[in-house]
Every structure is written in structure tokens, then in C-alpha cells.
């Protein structure tokens, strides 16, 4: 159960961080007219196609005591980043980035441009327009982004194994735990954890689809 708690903690932190970082990135990608935008779009989508081991490998190298990130971390906090919970969060943020940013872009782009124009001629700058118009109208997208990055982080395996290793209570998440149980032929234990993950994932996805089909929305549909 320690593993499940750890996974939940990891997933919640990652989802929270991704919302904060994802919103400005998604805003920029949705509204910028810069020609080179496709480059950043590709970078954002990269974790979708890369094997988690590749991403994990580079993250590990960067976080290692001789990597740039690792050096910086040691200088700041006096200990390394690899094989810690903090390192795990960082790698997971990278890995789940597209799952937060893509739904945000889609929902920002879905807001009628004339509403933004209306806000501008009524005297509001872009920041106020974002808080008062774009964000409230993108709420289903924000919920989707949070839930998807949570669920995706919950289920990750390769990145965690590369960056976090398998330290009980520090980096041993549910998916690693299941793998461990199977390796030691404890199928009963493995099944119990797997089932928990299956049920959680199903519940989370049902929630996302319900929100996007507007089964539930904060205001009545027009």
C-alpha cells in the first residue's frame, strides 16, 4: 500500500505542476502566430512517441552527479537528484507534458475569438481576458489536462525505473511494485495491485469522457 500512496503523491504533484507550467505554454501555442511555432509543438509532443526508456535515460544522464541538472541540484541542496522523489517528479513532468498541454491547447483554441475581441474593446488586457474569459470557458479542457496527466503518471513504468530505480517508500511506485511481485512469482499480490490500478484508470478516464461530452458542466449548455 505504501507503493500506491507514493504513486498517488507523485501523480498529484505532477498534475499540479503541469497545470501551472502547461497553461502559459498552451496559451502561447494556441495564440502565437510565430512561424517557428511548429518546433515547440514537436518538442511538446515528443514524449508521445519516444520510448520511456529513452526519455528516462537522458533524464538520468542530466540528473546524474556529472550532468548539468545534477550538478546544479547538488550545488543548491547538497544531494543528487537521481534516485530521489524530486528527480522522479521532474522526469514525470517531462514524460506527461503532452497529456497536459494538448487538451489545454485544444480548449483555448476552441474559445470564440470574437469573445477575446469583445474583452479587449471593453478595456481588458490579455491577462484579465485569460482569467475572466479563456480559463472559465476552457474548464473542461483544464479538468481533462489535470486528470490525464495524473492518470498517465500513475501508470508510468519505464521512466520511473530509469530515473528512480526501486527504493521502497522513495521511488517504488505501483507499477514497479507489480513488476517486483511478478518477478518473485507473487501473482496474488501482483493481481491485487494491478486491479487497483485498472479500476482507478477506468474511473479517471470515464470522468474525462463524461466532462468532454458535457454530461456535467459548470454552466448550462447554450
Amino acid at each position: 500500500m505504501e507503493a500506491l500512496w507514493l504513486s498517488m503523491k507523485l501523480a498529484a504533484s505532477v498534475a499540479g505542476i503541469l497545470l501551472v507550467i502547461g497553461m502559459p505554454v498552451a496559451y502561447w501555442l494556441a495564440f502565437s502566430s510565430w512561424r517557428g511555432k511548429f518546433l515547440l509543438e514537436s518538442v511538446v509532443a515528443l514524449p508521445l512517441v519516444l520510448p520511456p526508456t529513452v526519455l528516462g535515460f537522458y533524464a538520468l544522464v542530466a540528473m546524474g552527479p556529472r550532468g548539468p541538472l545534477g550538478k546544479l541540484w547538488i550545488a543548491l541542496f547538497g544531494h543528487g537528484l537521481a534516485f530521489t522523489f524530486g528527480g522522479l517528479i521532474l522526469a514525470s513532468v517531462l514524460y506527461s507534458f503532452p497529456f497536459a498541454v494538448q487538451p489545454l491547447i485544444a480548449s483555448f483554441e476552441g474559445v470564440d475569438r470574437r469573445l477575446l475581441d469583445a474583452s479587449a474593446v471593453l478595456g481588458s488586457g490579455s491577462l484579465r481576458t485569460f482569467w475572466r474569459v479563456i480559463l472559465p470557458l476552457s474548464l473542461p479542457g483544464v479538468v481533462t489536462a489535470a486528470v490525464l496527466s495524473f492518470a498517465h503518471t500513475l501508470g508510468e513504468f519505464g521512466v520511473v525505473l530509469m530515473v528512480g530505480g526501486n527504493l521502497a517508500g522513495v521511488t517504488r511506485t505501483v507499477s514497479i511494485d507489480i513488476y517486483d511481485h511478478v518477478q518473485s512469482l507473487e501473482y496474488g499480490e501482483a493481481n491485487r495491485m494491478a486491479l487497483v490500478l485498472l479500476v482507478i484508470s477506468f474511473a479517471v478516464l470515464s470522468f474525462v469522457y463524461a466532462v468532454n461530452r458535457r454530461v456535467w458542466t459548470p454552466w448550462p449548455a447554450k
Binding site: D117, S119, A120, S124, L137
Partner: protein, 371 residues
């Protein structure tokens, strides 16, 4: 008085190119002056009306020119001035209205009132909701409100901020005439007190007649003409404008001879034998001209009329009758086909049917020359 009018006038001279795949595909190049009161901006779709409004409001980047209200410069390419949209204090009601769907009517109206003490905010919202007769809907969301009332709320939202000019992009489309007139009356009443320049886009003739003090006609990105509504719309010098202004009959004709002393000339319509007299234009015998006639300006008779001042009586045969709302559109073949509007009552009284021979009566000055 004159200086007071000038200090509120919206003046713009601007140029904007719209590009598609790098090549300019449309150029707006206009100079307009909008004094306090309602000025109609008239033109076919694609003439550049919305682009002009977007430039004035600061929503679209103007390539070059100058925009000012009174002495306050909002845009000047030469001086490098570009006041962004939120700071222009120009209100803009879009065709789609763009009410915020997640906010109530009251919250929509209060949206532009920032930095006011709460009590004043409330007072202003209350006053404008009453002026536009929508105070009962304050708690409703736009999705729960009917068309005409949404339009009233959009107007209230724009005007509550006391803007220096108001841009209206066909804000009353889709409303019936009575409701339209009522809203226009409220708008007029409001503007008598505030006296700001209002630029009102429409391509409906009825709205021009109901509202217009002045008209600016746009065609293909340029000002085709401007002035009093009758002058601008009754002498359409451009074909597209003629169509937009409701000249249902647009016929090509050959000039036969000029009678300069009478101020008229005779023309033959199309390839037919049908000859009519039209006002004298810049033409010589043998040249080709376009003649525009409004369907509502043609009289239809079942016997050859006598003793009329109208100079043109042509005979023909009804091809079809089609009722649309309260008018019947009659197509009459006189060698060329004329479209004539008659009332359903006239159709019954004259027993008009397809195939029936009729005479059409056209006043010389109902025939307009178009180039």
C-alpha cells in the same frame, strides 16, 4: 458648436492589405469622417466593412494612416502611435454579439466597468439595463435569453463604459422590423444625450431608411460615395453597390441617341426590341451602359395605360409569380426579363397569372445608370 462637434468626430484615413499566401488579395484604402450621430456604413459583403471596423477598434493592425477622435490620436503610422484596443475606448458590437456565455446579463454589462467603486458600478449597470429595458433578465445567462434581448444586452454592455465612439456590425440582423425599430429608438434616445459618433454597418435598405443621417458606401475596399442616404443609394455608380442596394433589375443596354436638351437618352435593352428613355449619362450613341431599376419602382398594368407622365411603357408577358412574405415577385418577359414587386392584393384584383400579357411602366428617373 462646430468646434464641439469636431472635438468628438472620429476621423480615419487608413490602408490595410490582407494577404493570402504572401500576395495581397484585398486592400482597404479609405478616408472617413464620422461626426456625432448615426452614420451608416453600407456595402456588399466583402467590401471591407468589418475590416474597417476592426482597424478602427484596434483589433486588426492597420498598415498605414491615421485614426483620431477629436484631437486624440489613436493610430498614426508616421508618428509611430498605436493605441492598443483596450485603451481606445471605442465600443464595438459584433454581428455575433459575443456575449460571454458563462456570465449573467448583469455580469456581462459590468465587464467593462473596472476601477469604479462598487456603488457606482451597480448604479451604472442598473441605469443602462433600464434604458435598454432588460433589467428583468439580469440573472440570466445569454443562452437563456431571446434574440432581441441579447442584442439589447450587447448594446448595453458596450455603452455602459461611456465610449467615445460606437461601432455596430449588423447588430440587428435577424430581428423583425418592429423589434428592430424599438431597439433603434432606444439607441437613438441614448445617443441624444451622449452625442458620440456611431458607425452602423448594414446591408439592409430598410435599416438605412430608418436610421440614416449619413451614409458611407464602401465598395471593394474603397469609399464609393458618401452623403445623405437618398443621394448615395439612389444613384449607384457601381454595379455591386447597385445589387446590394436592392436594384433587382440590372440590364445591359445600347445607347441609341442622346437628347441633351431634355436631359435624357434612349437606350435599347439587351438584344431585344425594347427601347426605354433613361437619364442622360456620359455616353455616346452606340456605347453600352448598365441600367439599374428597383423592382418596387415598376408599375404593372393589365391594359395599355394612357395619359401618364411616365415616358416608358413596355409590353410583355408574365413568366412567373412567386410569393415571398408580403410581396409577390413577378417575372415579366419584354424581350428582356424584368423583376417587378407587386402586392398579393394587386395579384388578386388584377387576376395576374403566368402567361398573361401586361404593360410595365417605368419613370425615366427610376432608371439609374451604373458603370
Amino acid at each position: 458648436m462646430a468646434s464641439e462637434v469636431n472635438s468628438k468626430m472620429l476621423r480615419a484615413r487608413l490602408r490595410k492589405e490582407r494577404r493570402s499566401a504572401g500576395a495581397p488579395c484585398f486592400t482597404l484604402d479609405v478616408s472617413v469622417e464620422v461626426s456625432p450621430g448615426i452614420t451608416i456604413l453600407f456595402g456588399a459583403s466583402g467590401a471591407g466593412k468589418s475590416t474597417l471596423l476592426d482597424c478602427l477598434a484596434g483589433l486588426a493592425r492597420t498598415d498605414e494612416g491615421r485614426i483620431a477622435i477629436g484631437n486624440d490620436v489613436l493610430f498614426d503610422s508616421a508618428a509611430g502611435v498605436h493605441v492598443p484596443a483596450p485603451k481606445r475606448r471605442i465600443a464595438y458590437v459584433f454581428q455575433t454579439l459575443a456575449l460571454f456565455p458563462h456570465l449573467s446579463a448583469e455580469e456581462n454589462v459590468a465587464y467593462g466597468l473596472r476601477g469604479f467603486p462598487e456603488a457606482e458600478r451597480q448604479g451604472r449597470v442598473e441605469a443602462i439595463l433600464q434604458a435598454f429595458r432588460v433589467e428583468k433578465l439580469r440573472r440570466q445567462k445569454p443562452g437563456e435569453i431571446s434574440g432581441g434581448e441579447r442584442q439589447r444586452i450587447a448594446l448595453a454592455r458596450s455603452l455602459v463604459t461611456e465610449p467615445r465612439a460606437l461601432l455596430l456590425d449588423e447588430p440587428l440582423t435577424g430581428l423583425d422590423a418592429e423589434l428592430k425599430a424599438a431597439i433603434v429608438d432606444d439607441l437613438r434616445a441614448w445617443n441624444t444625450a451622449k452625442e458620440i459618433p456611431v458607425l452602423y454597418v448594414t446591408h439592409s435598405r430598410d435599416e438605412v431608411d430608418a436610421l440614416g443621417e449619413r451614409v458611407i458606401a464602401l465598395d471593394n475596399g474603397r469609399v464609393a460615395s458618401s452623403g445623405a442616404p437618398m443621394e448615395v443609394l439612389n444613384a449607384p455608380r457601381r454595379k455591386k453597390l447597385a445589387q446590394a442596394a436592392g436594384f433587382e433589375n440590372l440590364l445591359s443596354a445600347t445607347v441609341l441617341d442622346l437628347r441633351e436638351a431634355d436631359g435624357v437618352m434612349r437606350v435599347r435593352l439587351g438584344q431585344s426590341a425594347c427601347e426605354i428613355e433613361v437619364p442622360l449619362g456620359y455616353a455616346v450613341a452606340g456605347s453600352r451602359v448598365q441600367v439599374a431599376v428597383r423592382a418596387g419602382d415598376i408599375l404593372l398594368a393589365t391594359e395599355r395605360p394612357h395619359g401618364l407622365s411616365a415616358r416608358n411603357v413596355v409590353d410583355g408577358r408574365i413568366v412567373s409569380l412567386e410569393q415571398r412574405g408580403t410581396i409577390v415577385i413577378a417575372r415579366v418577359d419584354c424581350g428582356v426579363t424584368f423583376v417587378v414587386h407587386v402586392t398579393p392584393g394587386a395579384v388578386r384584383a388584377l387576376e395576374l397569372t403566368a402567361g398573361r400579357p401586361v404593360w410595365l411602366v417605368l419613370k425615366t428617373h427610376s432608371c439609374h445608370l451604373v458603370d
